[in-house]
C-alpha cells in the first residue's frame, strides 16, 4: 500500500507540472482561433521538434512494440523503426514544407481547410474531416488503452483500467481546452523529456539488474543478451515469413513512412512552425531520437521472454510495465507511469485539439465569430473524449492491430495531400475519387472480401495507396481544371515565360 502511495505521489507531481504549464500557456493565449489552434504560428526548433517527437511517440512504441517484439524478436526494429527516419523527413520536405507555406499564405488552420481553399469547394472539407475522424479515434484508443494497461499492471490492479483511462482523458481535456495549441506544445517539451529520459534510464537499470540475475558468461546487459541468444535464438533472426516476408515488409515500410505526414495533428504542428529552419531542424534531430527510443522499446519485449514466457496475443502489451514492476523501485515505477502518461498525453492532446479545430473550421457553418468557434471546439473535445473512452473500455484488439488499421487509413490521404500541393492540374474530383477509391479498396482487402491469396503477399495498405493514386490521376484528368485564381491563392502565382517551341 505504501508503494501505491508513492506511485500516486509521483504521478500527482507530474500532473501538477503539466497543469502548471497549461495554465502558463493559458495566460499567454489570445482569443483568436489562430492563437488557440496554432499557438500563433510561433513554434521554434526545440518546441517544434519536441512537439513532433512527442506527437509521433505513443504507447504504440512503449507498449505495442515491446508486445510485438516479445513474439517476433529484434526483427520488429527493422520492420518499424528504420524506414521512418528517412520517410518522415522526406514527406516533411515534399508535403509538409509546401503545406506550411500555403497555410501561412491563406491563414488556414487545419489540413482540411487548406484543401477546401485549394479547390474552392467546401464539401471536400467534409470528406477529409470524415476520413481524418475515422482513423484518429482508433489511434487515440491505442493511446488511452496503453495508459489503462500500464496503470493496472503497475498498481497491481488497485487503480483499475476504467478509472485510469477515464482519468487521463479528463486531465488532458482540462489543459487542452484551456490552453489550446500553445499548451500542448509547451507541455510536449516536458513530456518528451520525461518520456525519453525514463526510457533510457529503464533500459540501463533493467538490463543491468535482469542480466545480473539470469546472465550467461557475463554480468549485466551482455550476460542477458548472451543468455537470450543461447536459449531463444529465433528472437535474434528475421524469419522472412509473416510480417517479415518481403511483400508485407515492403508494404508496411510504405505505411509507416507515409502515414505520419497524414496525421492531422502532425500537419497542424507543421502549420504552427515559426520558420523553415525550425522544420528542417526537427527533421535533422529526429533520426537520433528514434534510435535512442526504439532500441530500448524492442529489447524490452525480447527481455520479457526470460521471466514471462508463454504470453498469448494482446497479453504481451503489458510486458514493459511488467519488467518495471519486477525490477524497479516504487519511485521509478511511479516515474514509469508518468512517462507513459507523458507519451499518451503528448499525442492525445494534439489529436483532440485538431479534431476539434477541424469540426469548428471545416464542418460547422461558415461565418461564426472566432470566440464562438473556440467555445464549440471545447464542447466537441468533450464529446470526442467520451466516444474514445467508450471504445477503450470495449478494447476490441491489441494496440498494434488497432494502430495498424489507423496508419493504413491515413496513407490513403497521402496522394491528395501531395498532389494538391505539387500538381496544379489536380482537381477536386481527383481528390474525392482518390480518397473514396483508396478507402474502398483498403476496406475490401482488410476485410478479405478480396481473398488474401489474391493480394499477392502485399498488405491492404499497399492496395489502398495504389487505388488512391489511380483515383487521383484519373479523376483529375477526366474533370475540368481548377480555376487558376483559386489554385494560385493557395499555391502562389505563376509567371508567364516565353519558350521557343521545338521545330
Amino acid at each position: 500500500m505504501a508503494e501505491y502511495g508513492i506511485h500516486v505521489a509521483v504521478v500527482v507531481a507530474y500532473f501538477l507540472v503539466v497543469l502548471g504549464i497549461g495554465a502558463a500557456a493559458f495566460r499567454q493565449s489570445e482569443t483568436t482561433a489562430e492563437d488557440y489552434f496554432l499557438g500563433g504560428r510561433t513554434a521554434k526548433t526545440v518546441v517544434l521538434f519536441m512537439a513532433l517527437f512527442g506527437t509521433n511517440v505513443t504507447p504504440f512504441v512503449l507498449m505495442g512494440i515491446p508486445g510485438l517484439a516479445y513474439h517476433h524478436g529484434v526483427g520488429v526494429f527493422g520492420l518499424n523503426a528504420a524506414i521512418v527516419v528517412l520517410g518522415i523527413p522526406l514527406t516533411f520536405w515534399l508535403i509538409g514544407y509546401p503545406a506550411w507555406i500555403a497555410a501561412k499564405r491563406t491563414g488556414a488552420v487545419t489540413p482540411a481547410e487548406l484543401y477546401v481553399r485549394r479547390f474552392g469547394v467546401r464539401w471536400i472539407g467534409y470528406l477529409m474531416f470524415a476520413v481524418f475522424f475515422a482513423y484518429t479515434v482508433p489511434y487515440m484508443v491505442t493511446a488511452v488503452a496503453g495508459v489503462g494497461i500500464a496503470a493496472d499492471t503497475l498498481s497491481g490492479g488497485a487503480l483499475g483500467y476504467a478509472p485510469a483511462t477515464g482519468g487521463i482523458l479528463v486531465i488532458t481535456l482540462l489543459y487542452t481546452s484551456l490552453g489550446g495549441m500553445r499548451a500542448t506544445m509547451w507541455t510536449n517539451v516536458f513530456q518528451g523529456a520525461v518520456f525519453l529520459g525514463f526510457t533510457l534510464l529503464a533500459f540501463f537499470l533493467i538490463g543491468d539488474r535482469l542480466g545480473d540475475q539470469v546472465g550467461l558468461g557475463a554480468d549485466g546487459l551482455r550476460g542477458l543478451m548472451t543468455r537470450i541468444h543461447a536459449d531463444n535464438p529465433r528472437l535474434f533472426e528475421v524469419p522472412r515469413e509473416g510480417p517479415f516476408a518481403p511483400g508485407e515488409w515492403a508494404s508496411w515500410a510504405l505505411a509507416i513512412a507515409l502515414t505520419v505526414i497524414a496525421f492531422p495533428h502532425m500537419m497542424v504542428r507543421i502549420f504552427a512552425a515559426k520558420d523553415v529552419e525550425a522544420l528542417k531542424n526537427a527533421c535533422r534531430y529526429y533520426p537520433l531520437a528514434m534510435i535512442l527510443l526504439w532500441v530500448p522499446a524492442v529489447l524490452f519485449g525480447v527481455w520479457a521472454t526470460v521471466e514471462h514466457p508463454g504470453l498469448v496475443g494482446k497479453e504481451s502489451d503489458a510486458v514493459f510495465p511488467m519488467l518495471i514492476f519486477d525490477h524497479l523501485g516504487p519511485v521509478l515505477q511511479g516515474l514509469a507511469l508518468a512517462g507513459i502518461l507523458a507519451a499518451v498525453m503528448s499525442t492525445l492532446d494534439a489529436q483532440l485539439l485538431t479534431l476539434s479545430s477541424m469540426l469548428t473550421r471545416d464542418v460547422l457553418p461558415a461565418g461564426l465569430d472566432e470566440r464562438r468557434q473556440v467555445q464549440l471546439g471545447r464542447v466537441f473535445l468533450v464529446l470526442v473524449a467520451g466516444l474514445t473512452w467508450a471504445v477503450v473500455l470495449a478494447r476490441p484488439a491489441s494496440i498494434f492491430k488497432i494502430a495498424k488499421l489507423s496508419f493504413s487509413g491515413y496513407v490513403t490521404l497521402v496522394p491528395t495531400l501531395f498532389l494538391g500541393l505539387r500538381w496544379r492540374r489536380f482537381t477536386v474530383a481527383g481528390a474525392a475519387s482518390s480518397i473514396v477509391l483508396g478507402n474502398a479498396v483498403l476496406l475490401l482487402t482488410w476485410l478479405e472480401v478480396v481473398p488474401k491469396a489474391a493480394q499477392l503477399g502485399l498488405l491492404p495498405v499497399a492496395w489502398g495507396l495504389l487505388a488512391a493514386i489511380a483515383g487521383a490521376v484519373a479523376g483529375s484528368l477526366l474533370s475540368p481544371p481548377t480555376s487558376p485564381s483559386v489554385a494560385e491563392a493557395v499555391l502562389g502565382p505563376v509567371r508567364e515565360a516565353t519558350t521557343t517551341p521545338s521545330p
Partner: protein, 84 residues
C-alpha cells in the same frame, strides 16, 4: 508559346547556391540505395553479438539509420530551400 513556371523568390545573401541537377540525381540515387538496403536482413546464427550485446540485424538497422540521418542532413542543407 507560353508555359506557366513556378515563381522562385530571390536567394537571401547568405544562401548557398541551390543544388544542381547532378546533385539532385545523386540524392535520388542515395534514397533508392537506402530503400533497397532496407530490404536486406542479417542472420544471427552462431555469430557473436556486436559490442557484446547487440544482435547483428539490430546493429545493421542502427547503422542504416545513421546513414539515413546523413542523407536527411544533406537534404535539409542542400535541397530544401531556405525561402518561403
Amino acid at each position: 508559346m507560353t508555359q506557366p513556371v513556378q515563381v522562385q523568390p530571390e536567394l537571401d545573401p547568405g544562401d548557398r547556391a541551390p543544388a544542381g541537377p547532378g546533385e539532385r540525381v545523386a540524392f535520388a540515387l542515395a534514397v533508392v540505395a537506402l530503400l533497397a538496403t532496407h530490404m536486406l536482413a542479417f542472420e544471427q546464427g552462431e555469430h557473436g553479438l556486436v559490442l557484446g550485446w547487440m544482435p547483428r540485424d539490430l546493429a545493421y538497422r542502427v547503422a542504416w539509420m545513421l546513414a539515413a540521418a546523413g542523407v536527411v542532413f544533406w537534404m535539409t542543407a542542400r535541397l530544401w530551400p531556405n525561402h518561403e
